[in-house]
Symmetry: D3
Subunit: 322 residues, 6 copies
């Protein structure tokens, strides 16, 4: 016998006991509770359903046409309603429970009934779904911007099928609608799912105008309080971030301030540029060059590039790898 | 009852109608058409089959050996032939339809028969598959380059199993063969799939010599008209990109020009370096240091590093986060 | 008939023969052998089981509570024991076979019996699993660090659910335990899986203290011989890498040296900073600003930022895209 | 090593060759042909879709209501149209090919184009689907008959959920519609699928009136040319079969005659009764007792039972088992 | 184009409308309601979980042993509790709703809250699960009876693995426990599932003693009010059924009477025997021969066989087939 | 909260303990052992692979043709070899262990090494697979017999696709080959799987000649020591069984005798006939009529039918249902 059965009969039960003991001794890493969390795979499934409604005919269902699209979308929407109602209800109930345990708000009681939160979840779900027609209009401008901004692109189909930038922006726009409805957890789960797939990390709180285009995209980070105008174009590696967080007289972080920059209409930011700070505004029709590092506002129609760096013959210790 | 049935019985149908109406009013975001697009999951499945043929024994099928490999590959190739024939047929038909609707070419008619395009798809598929034996020879050089270039690497097995750089390059080499056969859509679907998995974005059009190695890889971008020699090595975050696009006298983009650099044999480009422009050539046996930003050609045997940046004590507003 | 049956009846068999011939003529790209490799999907499955044990109640199983957690974890651990025993046994056997074929060690014989390696695999598995209770304590510090380091974060649940940094660090800590047990292949398979999901590439060999936090994370690279203290915080795009590899008198790479930097306690490294070299130490309580490029040691309590780069109006050839 | 690799490397290929040789030498047991057969799992899937349309809300989709049923059925019907069109097209093409090879009809040519048969398949599919509204009316009578005929039954829900008799009859009624449209293969595939699930074997050709109820059902056999009136009720093990087949002067079977009995309205046939012969008619309002064996017609209002068999003390050799 | 898009664009929507109209006009064949039915696949899944608890180590989970069985069963039981609680709650709610709509009971109100019925479902679930230890003792006698009754049987493993009779009896014993708890729908769903798999149809209401063995089994039917003693053995095709149902003075069926026979201890009933009627008792230690047809009670130690039927040379019309 | 968490936290663990206790107190219903049993789903999968090899092109893989059949079958055979080797090794090891524990043979030792039994399993597997070419010749006669015996049948395709009789006979012929190789468990698992699907129960031990046809089939039982000649045809409900088992002077069952009948060449047995006893032989070219009950031998060319049963008007108590 290759493996030792005594290990399985005796040692594993002992190890199980030791691990289970840590669920009490190490307190913050488990969710052992009769009040359920949103289910990750159902949130992802809801995003995929939403993508299918927004861009019908591309990914999942083949053979859609004028004669069947109404049935397909109606059925999908019905399922989506149920899925979101349940998950949003869970998120709201969990948040209420958390606030109650923290005693943070005082007025918020513990979860009494799952059904009450499902009713609340349904109400928020309907407010969210109601925004979809309008959202499709905005997404059409994003597709148009990608097509206009990339000479290699042959049509809208290619953008919708292949461009990670559009995927990340679509998911963020959906998450942003939920964020505005004060739904906890789920918006961030959605944008982090897109982050994992595209390398583009846009916080659900960011406000983004129409005709937005991110090319290549890997490494892009856009912070929670960014405000981005229309016809803005970003390339890979761009950070729209915060400067170090201000503190008050007692040394505590000042929260709920605008920490991330404002990018006005028709700005282009080239690869790996870094723009930081809540008071930093890039005026409309400006161009920020590749690898620029900017922490101050610039006026409209500015073109900012870094000075050509001086290059020299390499000494032995400067080229690097990991 | 937790949720309100009236919402489901009445409000959802109304919302469905509003969404469906946007499929007419917002025109570019759907594919409602009896002429099918390539199916994303089948294209991905074809790539996985190709990986299995190129590197048998690593991912999917266990227990391959001299006695059964012929059966396995013969069977896999047969299925792959059918899968690619269908998808390439769809891509060609869709493109013909698109050109017809644009009136762009005049001579290209609408799709008459799915079978005609499947026949065309089969012909292209065979031309593509015919290149696989030769491709394995090139990939062997890539594996060798990874092994030689990373002192921590213990053997070819580890490269094939674990290195995202090899995965991205393999998919690009496959996509490039299809690109050369003028197959629309599918090459880009393939490289964007690899982009999502590895963070490495190589356009199918890029021409890449043997013994190519990308280490770590996240954030690498290689543009469509890049020409890369043999024994070239790149690190994470390297961009081989375009300068701003030239325009003609009427302000239109000049297309089909070489917009991305040429990297000659035995060049090493360290992390986060940026090399831009179609006229930029990095001469053979050169080294481009980490974070270098280069828009001019450099001769053979050059070693380019940035000047050590001056560092200073931080003022309050310069360290950043998002 | 749309497709030509003669192609399938005659040309595909010929092509199969040509491809199979390359499995002999092109030698390093296949695993055709009766001695099995670790199975990729089972290694991934083991990682997911480990995540479920470490953070119960978040991803896979719903409805865990004090009354059933012991059963659930005991059962999961039992399955995991078998899964890891088999995969680790395979990795050890494959490595022994490789060393035997290389003649590298002389004393290591070929694989005689699968059962012997499974017994060895079981022993290593038990040593590994035995570390899980302690590991949960360390991970609790990582969750706490994320919560403390991000003002937007509302609780441990959100960190565990959504933060790619925690996912990458958790997988690396698991892989590091296996790395310390000299298990080949599998640690790297694990960290590369996390790399693909998060864009964060941490070598299994890196030594990392408690309270470690990576925010956003895409593009982070941490090399094999890095030593990182406690309460360290990194942002996206940070490289902790090697300078060019030293060679001995005969031009061969000097191996097994410390090639990557040491980061002491309470250091913060902002986005896209690059710190290189095995002799480079960042002293405790230091701050390394965004985009800093550092190849020399700095003392404790240093704050290093780059000089504000000089910006100028863009000339036509310097803004870039790919 | 437990198993002998020489077997796999050498003996299995030899065995493969021997088996493949039998595909030529033993001719009738394979379908090696570029002209596809109907796909079994797609036919089964179509039956399941049809059950869902006929009895919505019971098996697959939960939460159907007045507000979403139209979307759900419309979408399902659209998918079903495509599925049946393809499979019926295949069945027609295969049959045409078979007839051509047999030279049976002379006028039927070989399959030229898959698309032509798909067009034909679509036409037959529409004729079939057009009958579904009417079919639901008939099935409602079957459900009512089951409810009325079984005092233990509490409602239509229980019949639809649990009664194998209803399942077998529903599938036969569907198959009979296809049989009337002269679609080869598929009707029999459907009824044999139901036979496997219920033990009830009803030929697609049988003509069955409304209010039909089979209780328990295992072992029931109903032949191709049976004609069954309305309000007929059968129990388990009933055979409505053929007498031995008549032959013509040359000893050949006389085909296309009515070989199976006629059962008029309101007849009850109890368990294990056997009624045989194309000229045998059971007049309306008759009762055929358990285990009766009948090969002659009986008039209306007849009640036929077997004489109470004489029972006696068992001799040693008569009780039996297998 | 092979298929006609006009059919899909116009005719299918029209057909959908016609079918949907039948959901109102043909009223008993749908469940369009916000009050859910038990879910078929979850009931089946619960049965499979119960089989795994009753006979651990045979079907689903491999590698069970003394060291892990407690974890495995504890975890399975926890999931099963949730699954049954939900499904039983649904069955109770649906039944209450049905009775309310029928006005049958007057005192039963409509479903107000899903949660109330889940609480009721949990209570019934616990009463049911509580019987499992005792049930295993009974099942052990059934396994022993099969082993003792079949000389070809080599051990308990073979009985548990292969004998459809044991499967059918196990499912009936489970369903009978639920039947005794007055749970609607689900017991019958369970026994009909077993009926479909084994051809053995035992009503959940039948009362069956220990050491019960059915050999071969196809076609066995055992009615709702049967009472079967211990050490009873049946062969294939045996019916323990009802005589025709008695009616009262007004011609209505008399319900809730004992309609099916009583079989006392140590009776053997050979293949295809039929025993009918609620007043029919087969005394203990009797043997009923193959094909016997019995509607009267027989005393203890009886051996009943049919007279050898007279056989004769076949006339042309008597051998039969279907 | 609908459900009571105290039940889950406290009562379920107590119940788990009680159930686990029965694994010791009720001893024969579990397999808690480090020595594995054959895995049911893998045995079923092996049967399906064998069906695919025997009848290629019908069920699973589409598009088989002369050009790819060799690859497909070679690959399938290779996988099947591994699957059967493992399962047969397990069956042999389990049987050896059982015999050792019973002390039945004395000379058979306990299982020492899984690898030894896998080697034995491989040897038996090869002997089994070696019979497949010859088996296809026999199956071709069965298909021919079905086609010749059913005037409604249009071709071999229909028989292979739809006829449960062929399925049951094919599985029995496979199981019989394993039975002849003295492989425990697995032959019976295979025939019981087919029994569940077709209602036809043929023991793996039965010896069956070529050109065998079972029509309809539900309820057919064929015992272990039956010997059936060539060109034999059976209808539904036929039992070829044992008379009551003879006992020796001490009242013990006499084992290993021929208990089931011999059916010579060209015999037809119509529906529901019962033929019993090891000494009973039905001479060649005989016909046994429907419902005949035969326990004595009959000579060649006999035609046996039952006398037409006397029928009479039904008295109130004789028609039956369950």
């Amino acid at each position: 016998m290759a493996t030792d059965p005594r290990v399985k009969d005796a040692d594993l039960p002992r190890l199980t006991d030791r691990i289970v003991a840590t669920y009490d001794s190490v307190g913050t890493l488990h969710h052992l509770d009769h009040c359920p969390l949103p289910k990750y795979c159902d949130v992802v499934s809801a995003v995929q359903d939403l993508m299918e409604i927004l861009y019908p005919g591309y990914r999942q269902r083949e053979g859609l046409h004028r004669g069947n699209i109404g049935y397909y979308v109606g059925d999908l929407l019905d399922r989506l309603h149920d899925k979101l109602t349940k998950q949003i209800g869970r998120a709201l109930q969990h948040e209420a429970q958390r606030l109650f345990e923290e005693g943070g708000d005082g007025v918020v009681g513990p979860c009494e009934s799952r059904e009450d939160y499902e009713a609340l979840g349904q109400a928020k779900t309907m407010l969210f779904l109601d925004r979809l027609p309008e959202l499709r209009e905005t997404l059409a401008t994003d597709v148009e911007a990608a097509f206009a901004g990339d000479p290699a692109c042959k049509g809208a189909d290619e953008v919708i099928f292949c461009y990670p930038g559009l995927e990340a922006v679509t998911v963020q726009r959906l998450a942003h609608l939920l964020y505005e409805l004060n739904i906890p957890f789920i918006p961030r789960m959605m944008t982090e799912w897109a982050h994992g797939r595209t390398g583009i990390d846009i916080h659900p709180g960011a406000t983004i105008g129409p005709y937005f285009f991110i090319d290549h995209g890997t490494g892009v980070v856009i912070g929670e309080t960014c405000v981005i105008g229309s016809h803005v174009k970003l390339y890979q590696g761009v950070t729209l971030g915060a400067l170090s967080f201000p503190t008050d007289d007692e040394g505590n972080l000042v929260r709920n301030t605008k920490r991330h920059p404002t990018i006005e209409d028709r700005v282009v930011v080239y690869a790996n540029a870094t723009i930081l700070g809540g008071d930093t505004t890039v005026g409309h029709d400006s161009v920020i060059g590749s690898s620029v590092w900017l922490t101050k506002s610039v006026g409209a129609h500015s073109t900012i590039v870094i000075e050509k760096p001086k290059l020299r013959v390499r000494s032995d210790d400067t080229a690097a790898s990991a």
